[in-house]
Symmetry: C2
Subunit: 146 residues, 2 copies
DNA sequence: CTGCCTGCAAATAATTTGCAAAGTA
DNA sequence: TACTTTGCAAATTATTTGCAGGCAG
């Protein structure tokens, strides 16, 4: 038997490697898109009819907690999840296609360089930040031209 | 009579300068805090019992549309609104105190310098971004020490 | 006076929770 | 076996909508 990477990741995090957790993780890892919980559920239900919506909510949160997924907030008040391709590589942000929801990685974040100056000018002690970038992915650009 | 700045702003935007719109705007302009719609409503209702919650929702959105308020998204799924102190001064972001909700301005945003490089490396055409910074405001820092 | 504003009541819609049954290690 | 995970049904909660009456310009 080969290295069951996903299973190990889950168990290391103290989660049991159940089929449903695997399904959700694998679906998003393969897809490369940010998906609403309901979308994930609709898709996976075709394979496994007994999958419950609350379960998908719970799993998505757990997988986000352990860094496997990223919460993507497009601004409608629907939380989406995407495979965090930069899982384990440290601080980074995501760029999301407004057309199709595909997600890219922004590996370097220049913001930390501004933090000192900002703390001085605002008086705030800065504890964290979140950058949301949107645009059009290469594929959707191609589609536009036609 | 003096310059009714707020009234003018509203009318210029094509909105009637009604007392309720003024109340919401003035409350947030004075407060300096990010407030959930329900908080705004609870506060203003003491003065004006007939104020409806849906009205506050509508007004907050309108005032955001015209740039007077800013939508603040703390990550719980409750939309908050704050006076946009940098109203009219162009692109900027906000820093929000996790303790009390007070809001500061981040006048300069270094992100545009990264856009070109990022478009090249990701292939995305970038159309916009949103930076959310959190921290502890000076007052809450003082309070912590005691 | 005319059309924009607003209150109220009710509808949505996403997400959460309780609990008993089922599955993993 | 012991503890985690999950399904289902129902509850929550923020936000939205429809519509009749009210108010600013």
């Amino acid at each position: 038997m080969e290295h069951d990477e996903l299973g190990e990741l889950l168990r290391e995090a103290g989660l049991k490697a159940t089929p449903k957790r695997r399904m959700v993780a694998e679906y998003l890892l393969d897809s490369g898109y940010a998906r609403a919980v309901e979308d994930i559920w609709c898709h996976l239900r075709k394979r496994l009819a007994t999958l419950g919506l609350p379960t998908v909510y719970r799993i998505a949160e757990e997988l986000t907690e352990i860094g496997l997924l990223a919460r993507i907030d497009v601004g409608d008040r629907v939380v989406r999840y995407a495979a965090c391709q930069a899982h384990g590589t440290g601080h980074h942000h995501h760029i999301v296609c407004t057309g199709c929801g595909s997600v890219g990685v922004i590996p370097k974040c220049g913001f930390h360089r501004q933090v000192d100056a900002l703390e001085r000018t605002t008086g705030f002690r800065i504890s964290g930040h979140r950058l949301h970038v949107e645009g059009t992915c290469p594929e959707c650009q191609r589609r536009e031209k036609s």
